[in-house]
Structures are given as structure tokens and as C-alpha cells.
């Protein structure tokens, strides 16, 4: 059987994902590129006895790299480990999309042009003559409307055709540049697989990634030649070359596209929407409304579903424990129920919320609103040194840190991703609310609302400080500029939306799930060892750990072993703190026994500690999944230290003021 390996390349928003989905259907695997969190999508399709493996690359505008995604796409295309590239082009935005195609032609790889979104081009009144483009560029051109699966079979057949002739493409870059290219070609490094002319062009453009490939003595020579040229004409080569390419494209488009000017329907509709959505006075209210809606969907729609899942897990637990208690020793039953089943429970409990979140994100992205929201919020977020898109993860963090962190995938640079992820856990999540409610109602009756609001505010304040500080210490020189396309709106294509949500949820299960399970198991072990001890009592390992830790916590005003143990359990999930306190105090009246253990002041510092200290095990797992162990570990240490400092400061300051 014939095997083919192809790659999909194209601009962002060119409908590449639709083409990928239409080609490969459900045979997709989503993973990460080695060492980074950029998504790698691979799928296969089978036609006429030929098995084709398709790799989808992150969207790029040119072969000059910029963000991490773009570097990955560039490196993959340059490495050339594939038989054919399908360049997906937004037919309604031909010129800019062709720029990448031209560069790939210069790179000399086999390719097919896929003019996608033909329906939108027609709506815009563009009549594109496929054959003309094909004749001029000497490459096959296929027209598709991928989200209606139009033209996909033609594309498949074109992909497996074997009698394709090697294109010989070149743009004439004026006499002087050509003669410089000639002399550069002679310096071509022997071990370099790239075509000489392509490399020479990139070197003249001055892209440091490519100039580094040259031998040092040649490098100097090139600098000199290029310098002389630029001095002589007072022009920059980089600009001249880009201008030449666009001039070529302009000519190509003029030859092959006829424009009926009376139709600009799609653009007009988008413009009309934007006139409202990005209106000076309405933009922010609309944005906040969309955020509120997302929040509502994730937690109001996902919440009951999560409750349902939680109940299901509980009943399974009860069912299993009654069945097993007659068959197995008590410790084994506890292991199965409190260890394994609780572990599974705490993983799947997130799924409903996450699934809804991913649906919401996919809709926002697919419809084109995501980049608008970044546009609206960028000024504000830029103040924190972050990108406009960072706002959504932070807002989601108020519901739950996990979706907040997962939503950071939409950020482009690593700096934005890392800083936002590190800050999200400081947004007080819903699981912390039960702790506040309990303590505030017991110790600050009548002022509970103000106290809880103050806690949320403290979280935001710490987040601002943390964001600023991390920028300063870890990412000194990277200020990422905002150069962002605002794509035309369109109705989300539901199969894409659902596929997005499904694959992301599956990835969460696979990656974070294992770690969450492990965390739960460790806590279970600590609570039930040594053998025979009462679960989580003072004599269990966790009880002893709590007693050992309590002196450390007494400067913060809550030096009891019960408080320490409940905080340890809180690592599982913050709301567990409340349940654990209930169990440990063995109290008919929790309020009364809390008053014995805490003063209003120490209750305050305990709430502050709960707000800040170690994100729950699921959050840690997701941080690791997204940006690696080191940051996850750092986050644990940082938040613990910060929480302790804030709690101690609050308690000591309070004692000092009142005493």
C-alpha cells in the first residue's frame, strides 16, 4: 500500500482546521510537539489504496519566525520530512495568504494550493481563475469550501496523484540583487539541505535564524556586500525583497482574479457588527457581558452536570463499599473507596465544566470574537505587561483555576502563557468560597459580605503584583508586541467546535488525570498509615505531619494540628478544608468548636492562607501539563511562602494594632 506523509500549512484564520477535519474526520490525534505546549494534530485518510498521514501545523504568515508556534511550523517545513505540503489559502484574502505560498515555492517543496473559503470569495464578488494561478505558479490548485466538505475529494485525489512535476519557481529580484544572490550561492554551506537560492534570499533579508547557518568568515562578507548595497541605494534589502514578492503577487492576482466591485457583503456585515461590538461606549459592557455569559455557561450549565457526576461517584462508592465490606478487610475497602474512587471522582468532576468551557472557547475563537476581546482589553492588560487575551483566563479563574489555566492555550507567546498561568490561581476560585462563608459567618456576622469581597480583592491585588514581578524577574527583555488580525465574523462551524472540545477534554483526562489520581492516593496513604489507625486522626501520618507543622503556623495564629491537617487536605481541593475541620473537630456544633480554635483575627489570617497557599492538586497537575514540572513546583513553593507571609503579616499586624 502506498504511504504518503503530507503537511497542512497556511495563515491563521485560513480555515486550515476545517480542511484538516474534512480530510481526516475522526481519525485524529492531538498531542504536543516535543518539549513545548504547542498543539500537534495528526490524522489520516485513506483513498484509492493510498494511506495518507496529515500533520496540521500552527498558522503562520511567513517563514520568518516569531512566536513559539511559528517557529515550530517553520522548523517542520524546513526539515522537509514530508512528501507534500498543502497550502491552505483564504480565497477571500488572496494577496496576504499568497505571501506564505510564494515563500514555500521558493523553498522548493512540492505543494498544492488549496483555495479555501471559496464561498466567501464569491460573496465578496471575486471570480478566481484557478487555471491561471496554476499555470503561472506551475502548481496544482484546488478550490474548496472545507466546512461544507466541498472540493475535499478533489483535494484528496490531487494529493495522491503521483505524476506531479517538480515546480521550478523563481521571482526575478532585479539585476543587482540577483548578482548578490549569485555570489551568495557560492557560500552555500555544504551540510545544508536548503536550496541555495532560498537560503541566500533569507540571508539577504537578514533573518538571524538563517544567517547563523553561514560560516563566520562568509557572514562577515555578506554583511559587507549587503551593507554596501544598502548604502549605495539607501534602501533596505529586507524591504526590497518583501516589496518584490508582493509586487509579484499583485501581478498574479490581477491576472487571475476579476472583481465585481458591487459586492462586499461579508466584510460589510463584519463591519456592521464591529461598529456595535467595538463601539467606544458599548465595547466594554459587551465584553463584560460575554465574559459573564461564558462564566455562567461554564459554571451554571457545567455545575449541575458536575453535581450529577459527583453524586454518581458517591453512589458508586457507597455501592462498592457495602458490597466489598463483607469480602475484603477494612483497609482494602478504604483504599478502593477513599483512594481510587475518590481519585477518579476528583478527575471526572472537572470534566463537565471543562467541556462547556472548551465549547465556549471554540465558539469565541471560531466566531472571531476572541481577537476582538483581546483588542478591547489590551490596553488594560498591557498595564500588567500581559496580552489582551490574558483577561479571559483570569476571569475564568474566579470560577475554577483549571479552566482558567487551560484557557491560556489561546495565548501566543510563552511569556504571556507562563505569567498568566502563574497568576490564575490567585484569582479566588469557587472552591474557596465555602471556607470564607463558614469562617466569615462565624466570626464576622453582619460583615461577612465585606470580608469575602475583601478576600477576592486581595487575590486580585496579589495577582497584579505577582504578574508585574514575574515579568521583571523572569522575562526581562521580552515585551511581546501586539500584531493581531481581526478576522471577519462567521457563524461557528459546530463540528469543529465539538471536535475541539472533545479532544481538549480527552487530553485533560489523559494528562492531568494521572497526576490528580496520584495526589489523591498519596493523601489517602498518609491518612491511613500506620496500619490500624483511625482515618486522618492525630496518630495517622497526616495527623503527625500536621502536628509537626503547627509550630510553623502559630505565628499566623492558627497553630493547632487540626488547622494544619485541614490545610494539608485542602491540597486535594480547597473546599475539603471545611469538611476536614468538621470531621477533626468531631463536633455536633462546628461553629462552637471553631470559636474555641480560632479568634476573629486568626480566622482572618486562616482565610488569607486558604486563599493563597498551594493551588489544589488538580491545578498543579494542569500547570505541569501546560508549562512543565519546574513551573508547577515553583508555583507550589511560591504560593505557600506568599500565603504564609501574608497570613503571618496580617495576624501580627492585627495583634499589634489591637494590643
Amino acid at each position: 500500500m502506498r504511504q504518503l506523509k503530507i503537511v497542512l500549512a497556511g495563515n491563521p484564520n485560513s480555515g486550515k482546521t476545517s480542511v484538516f477535519n474534512a480530510l481526516t474526520g475522526s481519525s485524529q490525534e492531538v498531542g504536543n510537539w516535543p518539549g513545548v505546549t504547542v498543539e500537534k494534530k495528526v490524522g489520516t485518510f485513506f483513498i484509492d489504496g493510498c494511506n495518507v498521514e496529515v500533520t496540521d501545523l500552527p498558522g503562520i504568515y511567513s517563514l520568518s519566525s516569531y512566536s513559539q508556534d511559528e517557529q515550530i511550523a517553520r522548523d517542520y517545513l524546513l526539515a522537509g520530512g514530508f512528501d507534500l505540503a498543502v497550502v491552505v489559502i483564504d480565497a477571500s484574502n488572496l494577496e496576504r495568504n499568497l505571501y506564505l505560498a510564494i515563500q514555500l515555492l521558493e523553498l522548493g517543496i512540492d505543494l498544492i494550493l488549496c483555495l479555501n473559503m471559496m464561498d466567501l470569495a464569491l460573496q465578496k464578488g471575486l471570480a478566481i481563475r484557478r487555471n491561471t494561478i496554476s499555470r503561472i505558479l506551475e502548481v496544482p490548485v484546488v478550490r474548496t469550501v472545507a466546512n461544507q466538505s466541498n472540493g475535499i475529494e478533489l483535494l484528496m485525489r490531487e494529493i495522491i496523484r503521483s505524476d506531479r512535476k517538480k515546480p521550478d519557481f523563481r521571482i526575478d529580484y532585479s539585476e543587482e540583487i540577483e548578482s548578490m544572490l549569485e555570489s551568495l550561492n557560492r557560500m552555500h554551506p555544504e551540510n545544508c539541505r536548503l536550496p541555495a537560492r532560498f537560503l541566500s534570499l533569507k540571508i539577504l533579508e537578514g533573518d538571524p535564524f538563517f544567517t547563523c547557518l553561514l560560516e563566520p568568515e562568509f557572514k562577515e562578507q555578506v554583511t559587507q556586500i549587503a551593507g554596501e548595497f544598502e548604502k549605495k541605494y539607501d534602501e533596505e534589502l529586507e524591504v526590497l525583497i518583501a516589496e518584490r514578492r508582493y509586487a509579484y503577487i499583485h501581478g498574479l492576482v490581477r491576472e487571475s482574479v476579476r472583481k465585481r466591485s458591487n459586492l462586499r457583503a461579508r466584510m460589510d456585515l463584519s463591519e456592521k457588527i464591529d461598529n456595535v461590538v467595538l463601539n467606544r461606549f458599548l465595547a466594554i459592557p459587551i465584553f463584560l457581558f460575554v465574559m459573564w455569559l461564558t462564566f455562567q455557561l461554564v459554571f451554571a450549565l457545567g455545575g449541575p452536570l458536575a453535581g450529577f457526576v459527583g453524586h454518581a461517584v458517591e453512589s458508586i462508592k457507597i455501592f462498592v463499599s457495602t458490597r466489598l465490606s463483607s469480602l475484603l478487610p477494612k483497609i482494602m475497602v478504604s483504599f478502593v473507596c477513599d483512594g481510587i474512587l475518590s481519585g477518579v471522582g476528583s478527575v471526572v468532576i472537572f470534566l463537565p465544566n471543562l467541556f462547556v468551557l472548551f465549547l465556549a472557547i471554540a465558539v469565541l475563537e471560531d466566531s472571531g470574537y476572541m481577537s476582538r476581546s483581546a483588542f478591547v482589553m489590551d490596553r488594560f492588560m498591557h498595564f500588567l505587561g500581559l496580552h489582551g487575551k490574558s483577561f479571559i483566563p483570569l476571569i475564568l479563574g474566579f470560577g475554577c483555576s483549571i479552566p482558567g489555566i487551560m484557557a491560556c492555550r489561546t495565548l501566543e507567546t510563552r511569556k504571556d502563557r507562563v505569567v498568566t498561568i502563574m497568576v490564575v490561581p490567585l484569582m479566588s476560585c469557587a472552591a474557596r468560597l465555602p471556607i470564607y462563608t463558614l469562617f466569615a459567618s462565624v466570626f464576622f456576622p453582619g460583615r461577612a459580605g465585606t470580608v469575602v469581597f475583601g478576600l477576592y480583592l486581595t487575590g486580585v491585588l496579589l495577582a497584579v503584583i505577582t504578574a508585574k514581578m514575574f515579568q521583571k524577574f523572569f522575562f526581562k527583555e521580552e515585551t511581546s508586541p501586539l500584531i493581531m488580525e481581526l478576522p471577519p465574523y462567521h457563524v461557528p462551524y459546530w463540528p469543529n467546535v465539538f471536535r475541539y472540545a472533545l479532544t481538549r477534554s480527552a487530553m485533560f483526562l489523559k494528562k492531568a488525570g494521572t497526576i490528580i489520581m496520584a495526589g489523591v492516593a498519596v493523601i489517602w496513604l498518609l491518612a491511613s498509615l500506620p496500619a490500624g489507625v483511625e482515618f486522618a486522626s492525630q496518630n495517622s501520618l497526616i495527623g503527625r505531619l500536621g502536628s509537626g507543622l503547627s509550630p510553623l503556623l502559630s505565628p499566623a495564629g492558627f497553630g493547632s494540628w487540626q488547622a494544619a491537617v485541614s490545610l494539608l487536605f485542602g491540597v486535594l481541593a480547597k473546599e475539603v478544608v471545611v469538611g476536614t475541620l468538621g470531621t477533626l473537630l468531631q463536633a455536633g456544633n462546628l461553629q462552637e468548636s471553631l470559636r474555641l480554635l480560632f479568634t476573629p483575627l486568626s480566622a482572618m489570617s486562616f482565610m488569607l492562607m486558604s486563599l493563597i497557599y498551594v493551588p489544589c492538586v488538580a491545578t498543579i497537575a494542569v500547570i505541569r501539563q501546560e508549562i512543565g514540572w519546574r513551573w508547577a513546583a515553583f508555583s507550589v513553593v511560591y504560593t505557600t511562602v506568599l500565603g504564609w507571609l501574608v497570613a503571618v503579616t496580617a495576624f501580627q499586624a492585627g495583634t499589634w494594632i489591637s494590643g
Partner: protein
């Protein structure tokens, strides 16, 4: 500046450069930098200290007093400005320009110096269109000093009217892209996105908080921060 010899001025500048802001240096470092013997450096420092410009204890650190620092900074600015004047206007290379600046800076009258500064400021502010005479002068030099060949007119040196920053446009206004004054990755990306000379670009709107800006170029909408748009020069289209 009266009373200070040119070598004393050199010492002040050197201390400023070595010590940086509010910092300290040593006599030995000074002697190395100015290529004099440690002994003569020590004498010079002692004289400066007597004039109240530096603080120095024997074998200790040398430190500028606030008066000394002010004076040193003036001298240093003067040096820098003279040096860039030589480089940018006369086209000398950096090392020669520095040597000449050193030689000339001590002997200029305040008034002459101020005029040079003013001239230079003028050059900088009208940098959008490089003065034609300067372009001609460069060519004149390139052509080996032969007059007559210096009248090449190209798109860039031909006067472009209404040259403004992209961020200066008001919503709804259209302009032609003339020049990008960005560098590195940003520039590569902007070029790839089609911001090339002669392309029409229109400011659609500003974001509600004033930044970023939304533009239409080719067939799509692009948003840029003011910061980036500030470095893109355009020529307003006649309405």
C-alpha cells in the same frame, strides 16, 4: 568651565564613565583607561578633589561630588553630541569621530557648541525626510568627490508631503505606507503582513481605552498598538 584644563576635563569624563551613576572607581582604573601612569592620575585626582569636584581618600575610591557629576555629565553630553555630529553629518566612522570629539570638545566656546547642538536637533526632527543636501553630500562622497553625480532622485529622497506617523491618523482616514522604522521580528512580521511601501492603509477605529488601533490593509483588518504604529510612517491620502 573656566579653570579646568582639558586633561582635567578628560579625567572628569573618565570617572563618570567608570563609576556610572553614584558609583565609585579607583585611581588605578583611571590610569588604565586614560593610558597615563598611576602616579600622574593620582596627582590629577588630588587637584580635582581640591577643586571640590571629586571625593578621594588616599588609596581609596574616587567618587564624583554632585557638582563634579553635573559638570562631568555636561562634558560627556558634549562629547557624545560632537561625536555623532561627525558621524552622521560628515560621515566619519565611530573611532575617528570619537578622537575628533575629544580634541575639539575642550576648545569650543559655549555659544558655538550650543549652535552645533541646535543644528543637530534640527537634523533629528526633520529626519523623516532626510535633507536633500545631505543626501547629495553623501553621494558626492560616495562618488569620490565628483560633483554632478549627486542628483539622483528616488522615491525616498523625493519630498513626500504630509508624512505622518500611522498613529496620527484619525478614524476613517486613509494613507499610504512610506516607511517602517521598526526592526527585527516586528519588522519581519509587518512586512509579511503586507505593510510595504505604497500600500493603502486605513485607520478604522481606536479601542475603547485608546489603544490598540484597528487598521484595514489589503483585504483584512489588523490591530497594532500605538507603540508599533508610532514607528510606521505614512503619507495622508488626499481626500
Amino acid at each position: 568651565m573656566k579653570g579646568l584644563s582639558s586633561s582635567q576635563e578628560d579625567y572628569l569624563e573618565a570617572i563618570l564613565m567608570l563609576a556610572g551613576e553614584g558609583g565609585v572607581t579607583r585611581v588605578s582604573e583611571l590610569s588604565r583607561m586614560l593610558e597615563v601612569t598611576p602616579a600622574s592620575a593620582a596627582v590629577a585626582v588630588k587637584n580635582l578633589s581640591r577643586a571640590g569636584l571629586v571625593k578621594h581618600e588616599s588609596y581609596g575610591y574616587v567618587e564624583l561630588t554632585s557638582g563634579g557629576e553635573k559638570l562631568a555629565r555636561q562634558l560627556y553630553d558634549r562629547h557624545r553630541i560632537m561625536s555623532s555630529f561627525f558621524q552622521k553629518v560628515l560621515g566619519l566612522d565611530k573611532s575617528l569621530a570619537d578622537i575628533e570629539a575629544c580634541a575639539i570638545e575642550h576648545s569650543l566656546h559655549q555659544e558655538t557648541f550650543e549652535k552645533v547642538v541646535k543644528f543637530f536637533e534640527f537634523m533629528e526632527t526633520c529626519k523623516e525626510v532626510e535633507p536633500q543636501f545631505l543626501v547629495n553630500f553623501k553621494e558626492f562622497l560616495d562618488a569620490g568627490g565628483r560633483a554632478g553625480k549627486s542628483c539622483r532622485i528616488d522615491k525616498k529622497s523625493s519630498p513626500v508631503k504630509n508624512l505622518v506617523r500611522l498613529s496620527d491618523l484619525s478614524p476613517g482616514e486613509r494613507a499610504l505606507v512610506i516607511r517602517l522604522e521598526t526592526c527585527g521580528e516586528v519588522r519581519r512580521k509587518l512586512l509579511a503582513l503586507g505593510l510595504i511601501r505604497g500600500e493603502t492603509i486605513e485607520l478604522i477605529r481606536k479601542a475603547p481605552l485608546g489603544d490598540p488601533l484597528e487598521f484595514r490593509i489589503k483585504d483584512y483588518c489588523l490591530s497594532l498598538r500605538k507603540n508599533e504604529a508610532d514607528r510606521i510612517f505614512v503619507s495622508r491620502e488626499k481626500s
